[in-house]
């Protein structure tokens, strides 16, 4: 069986010749969540944006279920990929309900159909349609906006979800709530998800597989348990950076063999 998404020797260089993606090869199994982890500038977002053809790779190819992405109609391809970003990109002139149903509106579905679907998705994302459907984005908190962004991404029932640091701008408690909601939702919906983050905890909590990028190169592609056990220097750096406070306050409870 072919992978849901397969990157083959993918490279991307800027017009100035800077190599942002360096021979990336990776398979993403259907219905799994792959988290792309790395520092700022490591190429995570660029890699994500090659999948919905927002970025055209310089060389290499991407296959979706065994078919080259260039062979798909661009509009159809993008409508089959929910897209969630940190800034949410909610349309400020539309109500929450219309934001969620916009892809369906673009497909010419009836108002009744769109309303039913957006209410269903708002509920799935943890927002009461009765009180939120007719609000505008500026009347929502950051967490509520992200929930609407997620509901919107799921509106056309896409097979794929692309998420670029979706919870990066939220406070830790809201972020945790959102991660919990997303995890429940993904378990139920079985979407193939690519999620970009620089938050190790988020990666460990949500991923079936964690892919580590550094300077455009793929350094590791591991399951969360393998990731924790890895002695790769960059992974060690991540662990140290992540648990620095914990080690400082209670070093005796720090896992054996991990230096800080």
């Amino acid at each position: 069986m072919s992978a849901a998404i397969e990157f083959r020797d993918l490279c991307f260089a800027t017009g100035q010749g800077q190599l942002l993606l360096d021979s990336i090869s990776l398979s993403v199994e259907e219905g799994t969540t792959v988290v792309i982890l790395g520092r700022s500038g490591s190429g995570k977002t660029t890699l994500l944006r090659t999948v919905n053809r927002m970025v055209q790779p310089t060389s290499g190819e991407i296959l979706l279920c065994g078919r080259r992405i260039g062979d798909f109609d661009l509009i159809r391809l993008r409508r089959n990929m929910g897209y969630v970003i940190q800034e949410t990109g909610l349309f400020p002139h539309f109500t929450v309900e219309r934001n969620v149903g916009l892809v369906l509106e673009a497909e010419g579905r009836t108002l009744q159909d769109r309303t039913r679907r957006s209410h269903e998705l708002l509920e799935a994302a943890g927002l009461d349609p009765g009180s939120f459907a007719t609000r505008y984005p500026h009347q929502l908190s950051g967490g509520q906006r992200q929930r609407v962004g997620l509901a919107r991404a799921l509106a056309a029932d896409p097979d794929f979800l692309l998420m670029d640091e979706p919870f990066g701008a939220l406070d830790p408690l809201t972020r945790a709530e959102m991660q919990e909601m997303l995890r429940g939702l993904l378990r139920r919906l079985k979407k193939t998800v690519l999620l970009v983050t620089h938050d190790l905890d988020e990666a460990l909590y949500l991923a079936d597989r964690i892919v580590l990028l550094s300077e455009g190169k793929l350094l590791a592609s591991l399951e969360p348990k393998e990731f924790l056990a890895s002695r790769l220097p960059l992974i060690e750096d991540y662990m140290r950076a992540f648990h620095r406070g914990w080690h400082n306050v209670a070093p005796e409870t720090w896992p054996q063999g991990r230096g800080v």
Binding site: M81, G89, F91, V103
Partner: protein
């Protein structure tokens, strides 16, 4: 000005006001039909932005009387003075509408455009559902400036026989009758104020609160 003056000129003032409105309205419709699509095109071909906006800028600098004079000998256009007036007024209106359309679309938050593309909206859907509605307050502000200016300039169109409230002003100046000058100038000023207020309201109605 007394009751006698109004009974003598009231009908004419009303007719000329309607004529003035028609000249300005037609010119604004014409200018909007040219400037908005051009502004949209410039957003997608930014290297043309400077020369095209520069050209509209040059049109703006031509003195209005000279502009009417230049257009007078042209075939078809010169046959009817109203055509000259509408073309000249449209030319003056191009710059504010064009510049504001261009600036309005470019000022939209990049993440909104990015999501609109990524969610699979076609170019047309993106333009009509996202870009133009969000740029509407800017475009309307340009239209507002253009309309108020055009109502003023339209009074000069009477010099080439295009009619409008300028006719009363020119007649008043020629016969040294200030009542006639005011009979043309006051309605023109009121029209400008009314257009400014109405378009201002529309602009506010389209304004989207920042999230």
């Amino acid at each position: 000005m007394n009751a006698g003056f109004f009974s003598q000129y009231g009908g004419e003032i009303a007719t000329l006001t309607i004529e003035h409105l028609w000249l300005t309205g037609a010119a604004m419709a014409f200018a909007t039909a040219i400037a908005v699509p051009t502004g949209v095109w410039l957003v997608h071909s930014p290297r043309w932005a400077e020369p095209v906006i520069g050209l509209a800028n040059i049109l703006q600098t031509i003195p209005s009387l000279a502009m009417f004079g230049f257009l007078l000998p042209l075939p078809w256009l010169g046959e009817r003075a109203a055509r000259i007036a509408i073309v000249a007024l449209s030319a003056y209106a191009l710059l504010p509408i064009l510049r504001n359309t261009y600036a309005g679309i470019r000022s939209i938050d990049h993440s909104i455009i990015e999501v609109a593309r990524a969610m699979g909206l076609t170019d047309g859907q993106r333009l009509f559902k996202v870009e133009l509605p969000l740029a509407a307050p800017f475009i309307l502000a340009g239209l507002r400036t253009a309309t108020v200016t055009a109502i003023g300039i339209a009074t000069i169109a009477a010099a080439v026989g295009a009619g409008g409230l300028g006719e009363l002003i020119f007649r008043g100046v020629a016969s040294v009758d200030n009542r006639l000058v005011l009979a043309g100038a006051i309605p023109a000023a009121l029209l400008a104020l009314a257009a400014d207020a109405a378009l201002g309201l529309l602009e506010r109605w389209f304004k989207v609160p920042a999230s």
